[in-house]
Symmetry: C2
Subunit: 373 residues, 2 copies
């Protein structure tokens, strides 16, 4: 039986779901993989709870999950006392083979992640931000060692970031496999937002934009401010991670994003924005009708091709995998030398805390079984 120490950063929805899955599947991981996961430290924005030797026990873990779900801060949690220096937590808690899991949504973890890598820990990221800041940070997190000329080599052995793009769908794993085999990827096209999938499906069915957005907002499918979805920046981060995965060197500012509302509406309050939505209906209806007139359909897609990442309403063939998609599923097409004329397609739920946490757990098991006999 191998004991795998885990340091978990972030106890939002995904982090809490991950803790629940780790506790729920202790039997599976022991019996099927010979692994015992030991949570040495849980950290949130300004605090941490640490149990250095045996790891936190399951009763405490589930109590912490409830505490956090109720809006608590770890700095106030009685069992462990405050810890607000992530590097110190990693330093103290670290052991050979430790895995640092980042389920936050902030770039503030970057120094701690780089420090952990320097200490030869393994890293699992559900957090997109560290991979979408400067290229150098991406390279350090996903490439290993030092070379004299040029960039260090890719390493698949110590970092996993599957859930940064399409939650638990095997998008990054597929990309990494294509790159490793030398199969030239000519184009990646995909939808990476269930919310925008819902909106585009409604538009295609003839609903006015204002109506479908209002509906999605009321159903809780959108962020509290729907512009966080409609603006496309989250999709842009995912596309950037794919492009960098192809070996391209580019930054978020290089991604060409067209949102579903004009920039001048950024100044409005949320109620004002919702009230102003009908002004956008005619233009989007026209785009949908123009598409239909040429056998196409309109998708809110990311296209990674010929050195460019383009995000926005996109005309796709109605008969293509993307064109046939409806609803909130994500779908990614990889067009390559060997996957032509039809692409390699990955489709399914691309969001949700449980599917994401399950993907994070797969990443952890992969790293933990590596090098293990």
């Amino acid at each position: 039986m191998s004991v795998v120490p885990i340091i978990l950063l972030g106890l939002g929805g995904v982090g809490r779901a991950l803790v629940r899955l780790l506790v729920e599947h202790r039997g599976l991981h022991a019996a099927e993989y010979g692994l015992t996961f030991s949570l040495l430290a849980l950290c949130d924005r300004d605090g941490g709870v640490i149990a250095l030797y045996e790891g936190l026990d399951d009763v405490t873990l589930l109590d912490l999950v409830s505490f956090k779900a109720g809006g608590g801060r770890l700095a106030e949690y009685s069992a462990g006392g405050p810890q607000n220096d992530l590097a110190a937590v990693i330093d103290i808690a670290g052991r050979t083979g430790a895995v640092v899991v980042d389920c936050t949504a902030t770039e503030a973890t970057v120094p701690a992640l780089l420090y952990a890598l320097d200490k030869r820990y393994k890293i699992v990221l559900a957090n997109k931000k560290p991979l979408t800041v400067e290229q150098e940070v991406y390279d350090r997190l996903t490439r290993a060692g030092r070379t004299e000329d040029g960039r260090p080599p890719r390493q698949l052995a110590r970092t996993r970031w599957e859930t940064t793009c399409g939650a638990g769908l095997p998008v990054i794993a597929t990309l990494n496999r294509l790159v490793a085999s030398g199969d030239p990827v000519q184009r990646i096209a995909g939808t990476f937002s269930g919310t925008l999938g819902y909106v585009m499906t409604g538009l295609q069915q003839g609903q006015p934009f204002s109506e479908v957005v209002t509906q999605a907002h009321e159903l809780g499918y959108t962020e509290p401010d729907p512009r966080d979805d409609l603006g496309g920046v989250d999709v842009a981060r995912k596309a950037l991670i794919l492009a960098r995965g192809l070996g391209w060197q580019m930054d978020l500012a290089d991604v060409e994003v067209t949102g579903l509302y004009p920039a001048e509406m950024d100044g409005l309050s949320v109620p004002e924005f919702m009230a102003a939505l009908p002004t956008l209906d005619a233009d989007l209806r026209r785009q949908v009708e123009t598409a239909a007139a040429t056998g196409k359909v309109l998708r809110y897609a990311a296209t990674v091709e010929k050195g460019r990442c383009v995000i926005g309403p996109t005309l796709v063939d109605a008969a293509s995998p993307l064109g046939r998609l409806t609803g909130t599923d994500n779908l990614v097409e990889f067009h390559t030398r060997w996957y032509a004329p039809t692409p390699l397609v990955i489709q399914g739920r691309g969001a949700g805390v449980d599917a994401t946490a399950a993907g994070v757990l797969s990443d952890i098991v992969e790293l933990a079984t590596m090098g293990k006999e």
Copy 2:
């Protein structure tokens, strides 16, 4: 730079394509992964060519590929002399970190593979046979170490068999990830034969069975004896590999296979079989029409569900991913706790020597980068 010794068993189409890819992508693997693949030994049915220290040079490798493509036997190849004892080849050629790659289509490699695992080499299988003989062989190849009570643990670190099911499509990787995360897989449904996909698409478009099979035969889409495709046994092997991947203990004899022709036609010669095909037209036309009358379509599918593997003509919802598939692509639906109501879907070319060899190469790179810094 890490040197990764490779011993390749089998120089059929996939083995030869793999050698070409390894030579073609030397620069990529050196620059991007810090890896140099060194082919120490190539073996076919009754011979081998070995170069123990530096590995075979690229000129010799490409010459060997041409020689084999022209129908030669390695036992007759002048450079290395005959070697007909695979274990001895592995013994001689083996080095730390060696990867044994099985691109044959015979279970005769099993003793050599087990011997290689005992010597702590890594294994990549494109060959389905070793995973579809006795359960114990599957377990030894895909599980590691010894436990006192029950089966040894799964190990993801030393064996890869992605291309045994759907060629380069990430089907096994996806299955392994779902299992590792504890997400219960309730049903796997898929098409795993481009040939049968072509036949079923033709049937759905109203072509008589005899006509579409004759066409597929003439286009070289089928095996020389089309019954090798139409009988479904190859699909059954793939389904068994998926079922065993879920942790089920079952044998090929437990897979319930319904072919597209009755068993009494097994005694015919190929020309007799082709001539007798029209006798099957009416029944298949009726099945397609019955399906259509209830909003379903007929697919030649594998269904892995509730302890059973069922292979044969299957009614699926016309609006499901499987129902919407046409042509020769493979498609696999994973229905799980987190992938419900819509499944996780993998779709694309599921055959072909180049796509398969590329998948084998991805497996090799994954194993080679493991444990590497």
